[in-house]
């Protein structure tokens, strides 16, 4: 099967955009719905990505250049993705138990420290992660049917990513519309009042945080086969804040909104790479920093002038109970 270049192009857009959207959904559960400021998104993404990569790769021959790492389990993708979610959630649980009580800004510092710790482990625990060389030759789940056709391989992965995004969206939409989600929003608006209503707010916050982290792990499970090789520098702690832009841009607290925010944000990214060739050389050389300046500017302006985002959170009104 040969696909038209436009389809392949679209697939190449859809995969990263879906990954960002899933990350944004996970963060939205924590920040948008519950008001937990997680500054360590990069850490949970890294845990998910490395878990998947280590579990699905085939055994690699050891050479001097590539001293090897833990791996070679050749797990099927589905099992590895499940493990990635589990492990990212578990990491979230372990870190949350001591620090979830902290106020938002201290929590942010602590999770940023976690992201830096995870990055240190990725760089230095060579036996586990391959160190700076990283994990190479990560297979894709449909490799068997797409031998010699990278376009088709991209298209299959895009379908998978979009499918997982849809699942994550439906699952989170169900959760946040349920009474459980209502408690989370109660905690965000007024934790004292929610506590006074007899809800164990810490327990709800813990649940929201861990589920959010697991969703980020799922994003990592798609990232691993997309990039095909991993190295620690892909998980810069500062990358977390791009996800914040997506959530705030789209509208925190609104699941549809944050997906829209993620796609819009990635479109900007996509276009900025595409227009590179048409720009004067002076600007072209500086495109990477300029992009980040725009992200920073966007973040500041959004917080100042439109904190509710493009798509506002819908006021959830419930029909009166009739007996």
């Amino acid at each position: 099967v040969t696909l038209s270049p436009a389809v392949v192009d679209f697939a190449n857009f859809l995969i990263p955009a879906s990954i960002f959207a899933i990350l944004a959904l996970g963060l939205n559960l924590q920040w948008g719905h519950t008001g937990i400021f997680n500054a360590g998104v990069a850490a949970f993404l890294a845990v998910g990505t490395y878990t998947t990569a280590i579990l699905i790769t085939a055994p690699a021959p050891m050479t001097d250049q590539y001293p090897g790492h833990l791996g070679g389990f050749s797990w099927p993708f589905w099992a590895a993705a499940f493990a990635a979610m589990l492990l990212a959630g578990l990491t979230g649980l372990v870190i949350a138990i001591p620090i979830l009580r902290l106020r938002a800004d201290y929590f942010a510092i602590a999770t940023l420290a976690l992201a830096e710790t995870i990055r240190l482990i990725l760089v230095n625990a060579r036996g586990l992660t391959g160190g700076t060389i990283g994990v190479l030759d990560i297979p894709r789940p449909f490799d068997r049917w797409t031998v010699g056709d990278p376009g088709l391989s991209d298209a299959y992965l895009a379908a998978l990513a979009a499918g997982l995004l849809l699942m994550a969206f439906l699952g989170l939409e169900y959760l946040t519309r349920s009474p459980w989600g209502r408690v989370l929003r109660g905690i965000r608006e007024d934790e004292e009042a929610t506590l006074a209503l007899g809800k164990n707010t810490m327990w709800f916050r813990l649940q929201a945080f861990v589920i959010g982290c697991a969703v980020m792990g799922l994003a990592g499970a798609i990232l691993a086969p997309l990039v095909r090789f991993l190295e620690p520098n892909q998980f810069d702690p500062l990358a977390t804040f791009a996800i914040y832009v997506m959530v705030i841009l789209g509208g925190s607290g609104n699941n549809r909104g944050v997906i829209f925010g993620a796609f819009l944000f990635y479109s900007f990214d996509w276009v900025s790479v595409r227009v590179k060739d048409y720009l004067p050389e002076v600007i072209e050389a500086k495109i990477a920093p300029i992009r980040l300046i725009v992200i920073g500017l966007l973040l500041v302006l959004l917080v100042m002038f439109r904190p509710e985002g493009l798509l506002k959170e819908k006021k959830n009104t419930y029909p009166p109970v009739t007996r």
């Binding site: 710790t117 506590l195 007899g198 705030i248 990477a288 500017l297």
Partner: protein, 307 residues
């Protein structure tokens, strides 16, 4: 120094300024501009860095943080992250990504004390200069806080802004001065860092977490605590390095490149402080936990449905 600057803004504005690290980087580059590109002595670099970063701090307050003052700590925090990205990449776009060094002579270490046969070495520029600049600044700050009207108004504003305003203190001026001092200290710290390593991107962001650790261990909002906290965090990293080097030995654990994990020691101390003594060593009654979580152990009320 970095920690002291950060804690000052926290005391007045009550939010964690993530942009402080990049303010330090900015200072380091400003001094680089004066020192290398214009060819002046590095002393002028220090002066210029302190001035520009101080102004930068005031500018940030005027443009952004003043407008977010009544919107809670998290809005300001997110904005400061945005500013981090802007500053870092403005520096990147202007000066490029490759590291630079100041046009100064890096003298070799001198032996200042010999115990037995072990010479204790210290580097004039890397060892003594930061300590003396820091000590001078600390003395100056101490004088400012205790001897001048301005220092007293700063302390009053930190304690209770409304009361300070009612007593006739122009809070706005105090806030601007605080930003200026915080920025100047950050700029100086940045130049010192630039001397210690080299002038590179992310210079300040690399140490930001340690600075946060120092500030938290010492007690947020307390300048003296920040100094003490810096000392403790530095000590903890050294102790951890020795311990990790011991773990690295094949006979013990054989954990490869364990000493690379030494920054974690600072984070652990920080988190332990937050859990055990959240107000820090020198802190007063800073509110770090929301009131609700202090009452975490309240028995849960169960409602019986339908009754």
């Amino acid at each position: 120094l970095g920690a002291t600057g950060l804690t000052l803004v926290f005391a007045i504005r009550k939010f964690a300024n993530f942009a402080h690290g990049e303010m330090m980087t900015f200072g380091a580059y400003m001094a680089f501009m004066i020192n290398v590109i214009l060819g002046l002595h590095l002393v002028w670099g220090f002066v210029f860095a302190a001035l520009t970063v101080g102004l930068l701090g005031v500018g940030m307050e005027l443009l952004v943080f003043r407008r977010l003052a009544d919107r809670g700590a998290v809005s300001a925090l997110v904005a400061s992250i945005g500013i981090t990205l802007i500053l870092q990449n403005v520096v990147n776009a202007t000066f490029g990504t490759s590291p630079h060094v100041y046009a100064i002579v890096h003298e070799s270490d001198i032996v200042f004390l010999t115990i037995g046969s072990v010479p204790l070495r210290i580097n004039l520029l890397k060892g003594i200069l930061p300590i003396s600049v820091a000590a001078a600044m600390i003395l100056l700050l101490h004088a400012l806080f205790t001897r001048t009207i301005l220092g007293k108004s700063m302390r009053a504003t930190a304690d209770n802004p409304d009361l300070a305003r009612a007593s006739g203190i122009r809070i706005r001026n105090v806030i601007h001065t605080t930003w200026a001092i915080s920025g100047a200290l950050g700029g100086l710290a940045g130049v010192l860092l630039g001397i210690y390593t080299d002038v590179r991107l992310g210079l300040g962001f690399q140490v930001l977490l340690f600075v946060f650790a120092a500030v938290i261990v010492g007690g947020l909002g307390s300048p003296y605590g920040a100094m003490l906290g810096g000392l403790i965090v530095g000590l903890a990293i050294e102790v951890a390095t020795a311990f990790l080097a011991w773990l690295e030995r094949p006979g013990v654990l054989g954990l490869e490149s364990a000493t690379q994990y030494r920054p974690i020691a600072a984070f652990v101390i920080m988190i332990l402080t937050l859990l055990i003594r959240p107000q820090g060593l020198a802190g007063g009654k800073a509110v770090i936990l929301p009131t609700s979580s202090r009452r975490f152990h309240l028995p849960r009320v169960r409602w019986r449905h339908g009754s």
